[in-house]
Symmetry: C2
Subunit: 330 residues, 2 copies
């Protein structure tokens, strides 16, 4: 069966253009459209034509791609997305991409081919090119996907700075940062930059331990144990709260006291963490505002595919105090 | 605009029958079909006819209705449903019904009207009649919806029994059970029955505190504080792990030690709880098996709407040991 790429080759246009023609999306000349339609006919390519005619310009369905809703952060984000989109007349098709490249690719193709008005993406296992070829309105959460795809993030730089300030204020001097493995162009790298700036301004150094985001909690726990055992660490910044919970556990097992021996601050500040672990200091991402903004931008793009949007939208974060970062008087 | 009920009245059939005709689902006589079609024509009712013709017999989309994926239990269940359905060629439209009757009703109508092959439901705010009228294959998780809708549950009775046995073995004598408000016909009531049986067989009594499932953690925390303050409780069974986490918190705040002063066991045993709170004893529901069975049954019903299924399918549970239910030697 003919693929998008085959049509593109025959029509001498990019796959993005083919996708845009199929989805009737964006400004396209009649000449280009005709080239693509001719190629489609020649190759007997049927992009679910009934779906197209049904859809007209709108299926009122949005594709939502995140690593997985069993993680409380993505669970809260997807729940918020679904709630807010419902209020605006849209439903969601959910894809938990996990670590599965093939699955993410299959969803992208399906979403391109026939069913959704747009995509909110908070995951990418794939090469950036594949997102560039989608030819549908996409808004990204906190990940660089392509030049044309706006990214909504919380203020990662400021978040990193605040985390460092909290640890310094708590009296920590031998500081460790535990983060996911860093990806080039990812806005989350800014947490490291902000953190580093404050630590170095105070003429201190810090250690950096990278642990893959999708490592299992047991594997993460082992690495954390190493960090806690091999150093005289007295302050730790984790770039997510679940890792912070693991640090809490491992410290307890090693007989280290928090905050007496080690101060600890996490990142994300979901409702779950604030309600069930109020002892954990953290940096709260404004999930509601992030979602509202992503949806506003996406609906703008759906209404007008050529509307001008910024590349980056950054929302403020705030520190949530907790027992784990309390200063111990000497 | 004409509604399903109007067609039903004019055609002198039940709304379920109208829905079945629209969805081409189940055994229906030509006579009945004609009555419904005539009424639809007379009232100018258009159930998204392009969607119908597109769909033929299959949209390869399943509607999934749960209270909300920000709860780790439902998050894991929905993630598992989506993963397993994806492997079988289906996508999901997700509805987080929350406490919102109107939203659940709107989704049900939308799902009935045009888009899905079937529904997996783990929530009901609605009157049972509304589910009876759906006229599409439905499988329910742990909730009674209607005579014709199969329920998949874990063994709630056995779970309640085991929880009681664990607390007794830990040396508890003054026992409290904290559960959600009980709904008639709900399989989860069997936890109470099993728990009660074991406690009474041992010639003991126990207190029962009901806290609404959808109360906020702060409100739940307050009620738990009352339970802990007003009684000389030395063993607590919570019918979900998040409540168990709140008991842990409140006990800590009141200076009560777990397990020294109070033993504690929860329910659900999600990966999240087992990985991030291994100290919590719990009863594990086999989420993977539950999902596999729900999907098998649903796909059977989709293939053959009149296939004979049982009303109840019950899968075994198991106790997960944890520090919170350790016996303290005297």
């Amino acid at each position: 069966m003919a693929k998008l790429e085959d049509i593109a080759k025959l029509a001498e246009v990019s796959p993005t253009t083919v996708s845009r023609v199929i989805n009737n999306y964006g400004s396209l000349s009649e000449k280009t459209k005709n080239k693509v339609f001719t190629a489609m006919k020649e190759l007997n390519y049927q992009p679910n034509s009934l779906a197209r005619s049904l859809k007209g310009k709108s299926s009122k369905i949005i594709g939502v791609i995140f690593p997985g809703v069993s993680n409380p952060f993505f669970g809260q984000m997807v729940e918020t997305i679904e709630n807010q989109l419902f209020d605006r007349g849209y439903k969601i098709i959910l894809c938990n991409a996990g670590k599965n490249k093939e699955k993410e690719r299959a969803y992208l193709r399906m979403l391109i081919a026939n069913q959704v008005d747009g995509i909110i993406a908070g995951s990418h296992n794939l090469e950036i090119e594949e997102y560039q070829q989608v030819g549908l309105p996409i808004i990204s959460f906190d990940r660089y996907l392509s030049e044309n795809i706006p990214i909504v993030s919380s203020d990662n730089f400021q978040g990193g700075k605040i985390a460092a300030e909290v640890l310094l204020a708590s009296g920590s001097k031998n500081i460790q940062m535990i983060s996911g493995a860093n990806q080039p162009n990812s806005p989350t790298n800014r947490r490291l930059v902000g953190f580093k700036e404050v630590i170095e301004d105070n003429n201190l150094k810090f250690g950096l331990t990278e642990i893959k985001y999708n490592a299992s909690p047991n594997i993460k726990g082992m690495k954390i144990k190493e960090v806690l055992s091999n150093n005289s660490v007295d302050g730790i910044f984790c770039t997510d709260d679940l890792t912070s919970l693991l640090v809490f556990q491992q410290a307890h097992q090693l007989g280290l006291r928090i905050p007496e021996d080690i101060r600890l601050i996490g990142y994300d500040g979901t409702s779950f963490i604030q309600e069930f672990h109020p002892e954990l200091a953290t940096i709260e991402q404004p999930i509601n505002d992030i979602v509202t903004l992503m949806i506003d931008l996406l609906l703008q793009r759906i209404k007008d595919p050529d509307c001008n949007l910024q590349q980056n939208y950054v929302l403020p974060v705030k520190a949530i105090a907790g027992e784990t970062s309390r200063r111990i008087s000497e």
